[in-house]
Structure formats: structure tokens, C-alpha cells
């Protein structure tokens, strides 16, 4: 899995690609936690290149959303989510828990 992070004026952007399985979910979790522990709670997760997400990846997403939304301090939004990933998110009832954007530019601009 490839992962890049960048900090914008009002949010952080994480771009991930590849397979979000158990091993790579840990790396994504570390990246999300680093941003949250730095006191920044608006995060765009661009999933354009994600081929596959397992329950480990789903747990990382939900844990980050819980942390960011706590006390209304921010949120994680998802951008460019491929259809197979969207279907897994629908399957486990995650869709209502996130805002979705077609691309990261729109997602970043929403903050």
C-alpha cells in the first residue's frame, strides 16, 4: 500500500492506494493517529487507488472518525472511493457515518 500525507490550510489530506489489509491498515492508522495527536481533526482520505479493504482497514476508518468527531472538533471525509470499496462500506453500514466526495479537491474545499 502506498500512502502520502499533506497538510492544507483547513485539513490534512491522506492519499492511499493498494490493498488495505491487516498490515497496511496499521500504517494508515499510524498516519491518522499522527494527525489527530497533533491536534488536527479535519482529514480527507483519498481512496482513489484502493483495490481492497478488509475489516482491519474498516476499523482504522471508524476509530479515526470517532476520534475526530468527538466533541464536534472535526471529521474524516472520504474522496474518490472506488466502487468495490464503496460496496464493502455499504455492506457494513459505514456509508451514513462519512461524507463522500468524488475527488479530493472537492473534499479539501469542503472544510
Amino acid at each position: 500500500m502506498n500512502l502520502t500525507t499533506s497538510q492544507h490550510k483547513r485539513c490534512d489530506l491522506i492519499k492511499v492506494s493498494g490493498r488495505l489489509d491487516n498490515a497496511s491498515a496499521t500504517r494508515l492508522g499510524d498516519a491518522l493517529n499522527a494527525i489527530i495527536e497533533a491536534g488536527r481533526f479535519n482529514i480527507v482520505l483519498d481512496m482513489g487507488g484502493v483495490e481492497y479493504i478488509s475489516s482491519a482497514g474498516l476499523r482504522v476508518l471508524i476509530d479515526a472518525q470517532k476520534a475526530c468527531k468527538r466533541w464536534n472538533r472535526g471529521e474524516v471525509v472520504l474522496a474518490n472511493v472506488p466502487q468495490p470499496v464503496r460496496e464493502v462500506l455499504d455492506l457494513v453500514g459505514f456509508t451514513p457515518l462519512f461524507r463522500f466526495f468524488d475527488d479530493s479537491t472537492a473534499a479539501v474545499g469542503s472544510f
Partner: protein, 157 residues
């Protein structure tokens, strides 16, 4: 490997049976190899691209459960993976000799509660059971945990 033709009706395709088996160390590093193993047979079974992806995810979840729960993350255990193709499609059997597993006792994740009330226990098993067409589990001291999952081949449209 065994391959046999079953007598078929005149308007049915031959029912072939292919079995492959391999044993992998029960550790996260084996997942890529296990998934590659089942993917190859999934293609041979004539599964659609979506079905192959479903199989990959279900097997990933099942193996992670074995690694994390059956063997509690300890080293030395194995996962035996058997793949068979029959008239339904792809049959995957995963066998481990770890702690007895009770499929019925895995909690269902609560999907419709609000964010703070969400608990992700049982998510992997839930995904596995939703993505595969049949899921069965047995345990015996002699055979260990035997998890059988079937993914149907889609009927021609």
C-alpha cells in the same frame, strides 16, 4: 491432482472437480500467498471478477480470524487451505488446530447505531458470511476447526 467427470445431462456442462491443497504458516505474512492460491482456483472455477474479489476478502477475514483468535497470535500454527471446484462453483476449506471456534457465538456487529455506539467486534465474520454463498464450520479434537465456504458461479446471463 484428482479430476473426474460426473455423468451429466445432455444440456449441462461437464461437472469437473479440482482439488488443490496447501499448508501455510498461520501468520500475517502468509496472507498474500494464501489469497494468491485461492485466486488462481477462483479464476479456474469461472467466477466473475466481483466474485473473485469477494472470495479474496472472505478468505482474508477468515485467515485473520484464525491467526488472531484460533492461535491467539502465537507462532507455530498452520492453516491448511483446500480449494475445490464443483457444479456450484468454488469450495474453500480452511483447517486449523487452534482454539475451538464457535461461528454462532460471534456477535453480530451493530450496523445501524450511531457512531459512538458502533463496536466492530464480529465485523470480519459478518463480511465473510455476507460475501460467500455458504459458510459452515465444524470442530473436533481430531480434525480441528474446519471452515467451509462456497462461492457460487453465476448463471450465464
Amino acid at each position: 491432482m484428482p479430476e473426474c467427470d460426473v455423468p451429466q445431462a445432455l444440456d449441462e456442462e461437464p461437472c469437473k472437480r479440482l482439488e488443490r491443497a496447501a499448508v501455510f504458516p498461520a501468520q500475517c505474512e502468509s496472507l498474500a500467498a494464501i489469497i494468491a492460491f485461492v485466486t488462481e482456483v477462483a479464476h479456474q472455477a469461472g467466477l466473475s471478477a466481483d466474485a473473485v474479489q469477494a472470495v479474496q476478502l472472505a478468505v482474508d477475514e477468515a485467515c485473520m480470524n484464525i491467526i488472531e483468535h484460533a492461535y491467539r497470535g502465537t507462532e507455530g500454527g498452520n492453516i491448511e487451505c483446500r480449494c475445490a471446484i464443483d457444479s456450484r462453483g468454488l469450495v474453500i476449506t480452511l483447517i486449523d488446530h487452534g482454539i475451538p471456534f464457535e461461528l454462532d457465538k460471534v456477535p453480530q456487529p451493530r450496523l445501524s447505531v450511531n457512531l459512538e455506539e458502533r463496536s466492530e467486534r464480529g465485523l470480519g465474520v459478518y463480511i465473510m458470511c455476507r460475501l460467500m454463498d455458504e459458510v459452515r464450520h465444524t470442530f473436533s479434537p481430531q480434525s480441528g476447526n474446519v471452515l467451509t465456504m462456497v462461492k457460487y458461479r453465476e448463471a450465464p446471463g
